[in-house]
Amino acid sequence: MDWSFLAFIIFATIAVLGSLMVIFQKTPVSSAFSLVLVFFAFAGLYAILGAHFIAALQILVYTGAIMVLFVFVIMLLGQDEKTTDLKESSFLFKGVTTLGVLGLLSVLLNATLDAQQITAKGEYTEEKIREMGGNLQVISEVLFKDYAFHFELVSFLILGAIVATVALAKRKNTYTGDYHE
């Protein structure tokens, strides 16, 4: 058996089971740690696909930054009571939603099967990426030549996010009228 196929089976199983655990765990902390598992499995899947830079970023940004933020917020809010807090909704709503999700699954799988017949191919084959100096070299060239403007625009997005977060933290309490320090 091919090694990359074996690795794919392992990482895919971890990813699907981990994401089920995120949904079904009783405390937010265990959900967060299942999510870390899923992120690592996704990094493995990216590495199998040859996207080494994305795999490294996945571990740095998601498991390093975003999950620390989540765990901090869970700690700040003290959310450690055990609940299987499903939304209070009617049986009809649940049934219709489940049917809708299953229908969406079939549509997505159908589109996936259609996508296997794609014939239009770009220029970056595996051999070309290897002779140009690897995934990171090629990605940085594309990013800073073709997508340089978009890259700069992203900095405005991050600036907006910073301003929004500070504004939320300094927000006036609409019920008591005092400012949070």
């Binding site: 994401s19 995120v22 969406l104 997005l157």
Partner: protein, 95 residues
Amino acid sequence: MMLVVSCTVFLIGLMGVIFRKNLLIVLMSVELMLNAVNLSFVTFSKMHNSLDGQIAVLFVMTVAAAESAVGLGLVIALFRTLKTADSDQIQMLRD
């Protein structure tokens, strides 16, 4: 095969967004959905021998980081006002 994993994880995330009440777990499910989309981006970029998908993943990651920062800020602000992180209890517009 990769795309099947991507679809499955996306729909699991969607179920989490729809059915869970705890806002933190709803945000985590949103992260799951974004990750599933990233995986399909990378898979398609490999299928097309193109790198545009991987660049898109970079941008989706920055958007996800900004989104989770603002979302968690909102959850904290809501928790300070209402003392709960339960999405069924947030109905200030109703009364």
